[in-house]
């Protein structure tokens, strides 16, 4: 209840969406992220998630408002597209772009990240990376890039099914570059968080990705280039080294 009052106060700060907030019941906070607050509530009797993008004082208010609206809208549209392409994702239920509020299906379960950190390298974890790869391949084949395909944005439900969440940075794009950056992001999440079996996990991921996306070779070649850097400047010194491999 306290969470509900808080949510409604937060929403009011942005814009009043009384009617919806009234039908949100039994809210509890799931996560306060970099970008959004995520609550679990009953919405019209459905087990739902309310994702609310709040204003940030360190951003220019004009950029902030624009991002909030566009990402909320994009998230809903991208989820629908992903579902259409055969990717498991939480079904959107209600949206108020202006206040940055998106209500969607609640996915019960554990984050892929936590699962992998706990279990380490084994057949099961490999299998999930493979499915993540398959899903990303399906999206890429359909002209959708996820924007943040990391293990923190995937949930395994009690039936062992993998769901992809957090489509706020998604884009409708068929550009090789955008797809390569998606894969690059997935790889770097493996490097920064699942370093126990860096290469193995990448291989599992690629096995799935290559199964569902026929241009995977081009993408992987481009990923390698992105990682070599120095594309726009002749010599670039980075934390990875001058010309990164």
């Amino acid at each position: 209840m306290e969470a509900l009052t808080r949510l409604s106060r937060l929403v009011e700060e942005v814009r009043t969406v009384d009617k919806v907030v009234k039908v949100l019941e039994r809210c509890e906070e799931l996560s306060v992220g970099a970008e959004a607050r995520v609550l679990r509530c009953r919405f019209l009797g459905i087990d739902a998630v309310a994702k609310l993008r709040l204003p940030k004082p360190f951003l220019d208010p004009r950029i902030d408002a624009k991002l909030r609206v566009s990402r909320t809208r994009k998230e809903a549209r991208a989820i629908l597209k992903a579902l259409e392409l055969g990717v498991r994702a939480p079904v959107p239920l209600w949206i108020d772009e202006e206040s940055g509020l998106l209500i969607m299906q609640f996915v019960e379960g554990i984050l892929l990240r936590d699962y992998v950190v706990e279990k380490g390298w084994c057949d099961d974890t490999c299998r999930y990376f493979e499915i993540l790869g398959e899903f990303l391949g399906k999206m890429h084949g359909g002209g959708l890039v996820h924007g943040d395909p990391t293990t923190s944005n995937a949930i395994i439900n009690p039936l062992g099914e993998l769901y992809v969440i957090d489509f706020g940075l998604a884009e409708f794009s068929n550009a090789l570059e955008d797809k390569a950056i998606d894969v690059h992001i997935a790889f770097r999440a493996i490097e920064s968080t699942h370093f126990v079996a860096e290469q193995e996990f990448k291989n599992c991921f690629l096995r799935g990705y290559s199964r569902t996306y026929d241009r995977w070779r081009d993408v992987v070649a481009r990923v390698r280039e992105i990682r070599t850097m120095g594309r726009y400047v002749e010599r670039r010194r980075t934390v990875w080294g001058e010309d990164r491999e």
Partner: protein, 334 residues
Amino acid sequence: MIVLGIESTAHTFGVGIVTDEEERFVLADVRVKYVPEKGGIHPREASRLFAEKGPEAVKKAFEEAGLTIKDVDAVAVALGPGMGPCLRVGATIARMLAAYYDKPLVPVNHAVAHIEIGLKVTGARDPVVVYLSGGNTAVLAFVSGRYRVFGETLDIALGNLLDTFAREVGLAPPYVVSGKHVVDICAEKGRDFVDLPYVVRGQDVAFSGLLTAAVKMYKSLKGREGDVCLSLREVAYGSVLEIAARCLMQTGKREVMLVGGVAASPVLREKLMAFAKYYGVEHYVVPPRYAVDNGVMIAWTGLLAFKHGVRIPVEEAIIRQRWRVDEVDIVWRR
């Protein structure tokens, strides 16, 4: 314990001497800076300057500290990442000192040194590190014994974005006027917002599209130059803070530390303060003197490493242009 450190990865040949005593840990800090006549760094030109002025700089450091090589317990050197010709000068001088005077040689990673000197001078303990300079834009954090990269730029660095924009539209050189970047100064005249691409992808940023759009707009929107500068600055600083926030959330760290040349921006510092308040974390900014390349940071990191048994045989001390920051075991933080 006293350690001498040599930096020569890019445009600065630096010699530092430090101790592990609490007060006055810097005994000497000598810097020779290569300033290209125009454009970017020419590694060979820089290395020529280093080779010419390097030995003298070492001598000067000893004078400053009132010490001789005999008082030094170890010689540390930045073996990478960096530009080959530049690195070679520092490595050669360090190897020579170590071999001739029979001192242990300690290899130091330049990026690790930027972080370690930041921790030392700010008092931060375990922050999310936001490294913003002419050549680097990266968000790092200490996880499982190493500094790992959580986000970075996919194309050009933040400092490079600001500098290139300023040069292309004729605001620079000079790039920095009384402590403020010329883009920050130009932004003071801005009021309205122009539409520029804000690119965050996962935990990464990208600036090259922003640069192109901003230069084009600046040249075409006569009378609204201030608006373009303001928008450029807000988009650039905003996206960097966004990826820093993502790293904070992912790692659960309670501190954030800003390092690198761009950390000198008063506007960015103000934003960092609001940022820290919003996320309920402590914030630290490395003072300009130690935020840019210097020998002290190499000496200090060398000292930490040496105390924990890190050293390298002289014949194995080869430069590593592509030495990744996350390849280094941070043995002194375990």
